[in-house]
């Protein structure tokens, strides 16, 4: 695989150059990614932002249609789409990038979500490897790595001097060629350094889970009740998760004029499956069980991929520190 080297001091230059041609999305603070106007607005830290970048492919609020009633006639319109913009998503972690091929499956299942794939096609993913995995990271248990390439077009790995730039896809190649003047060739020594560093970082992952047997997870196991006892049914795990994609559809406006929107929803919320006919998941543990079973059993059974990339945000930000790794160990068949 082709590679380049980017000197550390060139990073800002590269980002500013990107900004001249593309919409650039990068971490802007500890909580989130955002569109940046200059390299100085970028906030790169050891820890990844609390929110995943999924918002930029699967927005928390998206207009599906607009409607307007004039006289007796209803007119429908597709949502106003700004001129398609080419974007660079910079500074994603390998886990977040790996999430995109996973959720591609559901948005392309039979009926294709056109808006999602339009964004996907116009977004180049330039990830940065994790040189200090957090205590809660467990990407390696899901087949990933702190320097994994799944889902990225380019991967920057911090070496002792500069960044190793791995060219993973043709899109990544085209991007590098656009700014060739800022890069240098890589060599065998640097490539080996990258590989060795990746091994170190993989070993640094504190806790791993052996997921063999997870598809045999027992729905009826009494252990679910104790595992989810502390759960308070908020939406943190779901909203921060790079692979969670459940949503609600509502009309905003009035019968004369308005928008039908799609908004993020969470199976952990009590209201999620409550209907006039009843509430099939009335207790914490039933909802929690559904979340885990859906991610590790039902989604892979239907769409071929586990709905988790081991980013660990659910563990890190859970108000009551429920540890998914412990849950998976306890319930696997």
């Amino acid at each position: 695989m082709e590679a380049r080297i980017l000197k550390r001091e060139r990073l800002s230059q590269l980002i500013d150059a990107f900004i001249e041609q593309y919409e650039v999305i990068a971490p802007t603070d500890d909580s989130s990614y955002g569109i940046i106007g200059s390299a100085s607005e970028m906030h790169l830290t050891k820890a990844k932002p609390a929110k995943s970048p999924k918002d930029f492919l699967f927005p928390q609020r998206e207009i599906l249609i607009q409607y307007v009633l004039s006289g007796e006639q209803v007119a429908l319109a597709d949502p106003p789409v700004p001129a398609p913009v080419d974007r660079i998503l910079f500074g994603t972690r390998p886990c977040d990038a790996a999430a995109f091929p996973v959720i591609d499956q559901v948005f392309g299942w039979d009926e294709v979500d056109a808006a999602y794939f339009q964004r996907r096609e116009r977004t180049v993913v330039v990830s940065i490897a994790c040189d200090e995995p957090c205590e809660t990271c467990f990407c390696t248990s899901l087949g990933g790595s702190p320097a994994g390439i799944e889902g990225s077009d380019l991967l920057l790995t911090p070496l002792r001097e500069g960044y190793h730039v791995q060219i993973i896809t043709a899109r990544g190649q085209a991007l590098v060629e656009q700014y060739e003047r800022l890069f240098q060739e890589s060599d065998r020594v640097r490539n080996r350094e990258r590989a060795a560093l990746e091994d170190t970082w993989r070993d640094a992952i504190a806790e791993t889970v052996d997921l063999a047997g997870i598809e045999g997870a027992d729905f009826e196991s009494p252990v679910w009740e104790t595992l989810a006892q502390a759960c308070v049914d908020c939406g943190i795990c779901t909203f921060l998760c790079p692979t969670c994609h459940c949503f609600d559809i509502q009309d905003e406006g009035d019968p004369n004029r308005g928008e039908r929107v799609r908004v993020w929803d969470a199976c952990t919320f009590y209201e999620y499956t409550r209907t006039h006919a009843g509430q099939p998941r009335p207790t914490h543990h039933r909802r929690y069980r559904q979340r885990i079973m859906h991610k590790f059993r039902y989604y892979p059974e239907n769409l071929g991929k586990v709905l988790c990339v081991g980013c660990g945000r659910c563990i890190q930000y859970c108000p009551v520190q429920i540890d998914l790794r412990a849950v998976l160990e306890a319930v696997k068949g």
Binding site: A50, Q60, P282, Q321
Partner: protein, 278 residues
């Protein structure tokens, strides 16, 4: 802290062995051996899981109330009363007082293993398992931040808060960890009509956060959990602490500190100073 841990274990063991309670709700060490997490101990053999340290901030009173609360759940057969032993730090004790004033449960069903800090609390624990110091540094920090905000112009302050609320992702963690948010149908979840749209626009986020603040005014006992759990670092503590101060100033009332005081915003006396009601 170690002494408190041992007291808690001893008392929990006794209560469970004597069958004075069905479950003890406290803290245990979580996944990294440092962070405490809520634990529900129903067997005497498990009491050694219980610990207490300065990180034990979760407001465990949350588990008493609401749809699935141990003392209020509709999912248990009515003949089955669950008796709970609760490890309660000072803010939790104030919470319990305020919840009792809202008639949420029977005092008799709760055994309080209380940790006190010398500040006024409206009730005695059933067992005092420890004393801690008031974190005056933290309180001072909050006071200083509020004062700093009060000093700037209203427009600037509004802008500052708008920036904070634009971060909100409506995960409702603030609501879910709060013992006073026990409504079975939250205003935010009502869809006939949809008082607050689900979209996380600034307008809707402000509606959500400010309505919650108003619904807590005169009730919040300042545990700070909403602030701790917010994943996008909205300093909710500043708003709720400020409202506690406002209520104290206006009504000479601080929730949870006086067992005899009626909740300020839920009680009216004929000699109330507010004219508008007459």
């Amino acid at each position: 802290m170690q002494a408190i841990t041992e007291n808690i274990r001893r008392e929990a063991r006794r209560l469970l062995q004597e069958e004075a309670v069905d479950v003890v709700i406290g803290y245990e060490l979580g996944w990294n051996g440092v962070q405490p997490v809520p634990v529900f101990v129903a067997q005497p053999a498990d009491v050694d899981k219980l610990i207490f340290n300065e990180r034990c901030t979760h407001n465990l009173a949350k588990y008493l109330v609401g749809r699935e609360g141990y003392l209020t759940s509709r999912f248990r057969p009515s003949e089955e009363t669950v008796r709970v032993g609760l490890v309660a730090h000072p803010a939790v004790m104030r919470t319990i007082v305020a919840l009792l004033r809202e008639y949420q449960f029977d005092r008799a069903d709760l055994t309080i293993l209380g940790i006190v800090d010398g500040t006024p609390v409206g009730l005695e624990p059933d067992v005092e398992v420890g004393r801690v110091e008031v974190d005056s540094a933290k309180e001072e920090q909050i006071r200083a931040q509020i004062e700093e905000l009060d000093r700037v112009s209203l427009a600037e302050r509004g802008e500052w808060w708008r920036k904070q609320f634009s971060k909100c992702i409506r995960c409702y963690a603030c609501r879910q960890v709060c013992p006073f948010c026990y409504c079975e149908q939250c205003v935010a979840d009502e869809n006939q009509p949809q008082w607050i749209d689900r979209s996380p626009s600034l307008w809707n986020n402000m509606a959500w956060n400010l309505i919650r603040t108003y619904h807590l005014t005169g009730r919040c006992t300042g545990c700070g959990e909403c602030d701790r759990v917010c994943p996008v670092d909205i300093p909710l503590r500043l708003i709720n602490s400020r409202m506690i101060a406002e209520v104290s100033l206006a009504f000479n009332f601080v929730a949870g500190t006086d067992p005899d005081a009626k909740p300020a915003l839920a009680a009216f006396q004929p000699d109330d100073t507010a004219e508008f009601v007459r």
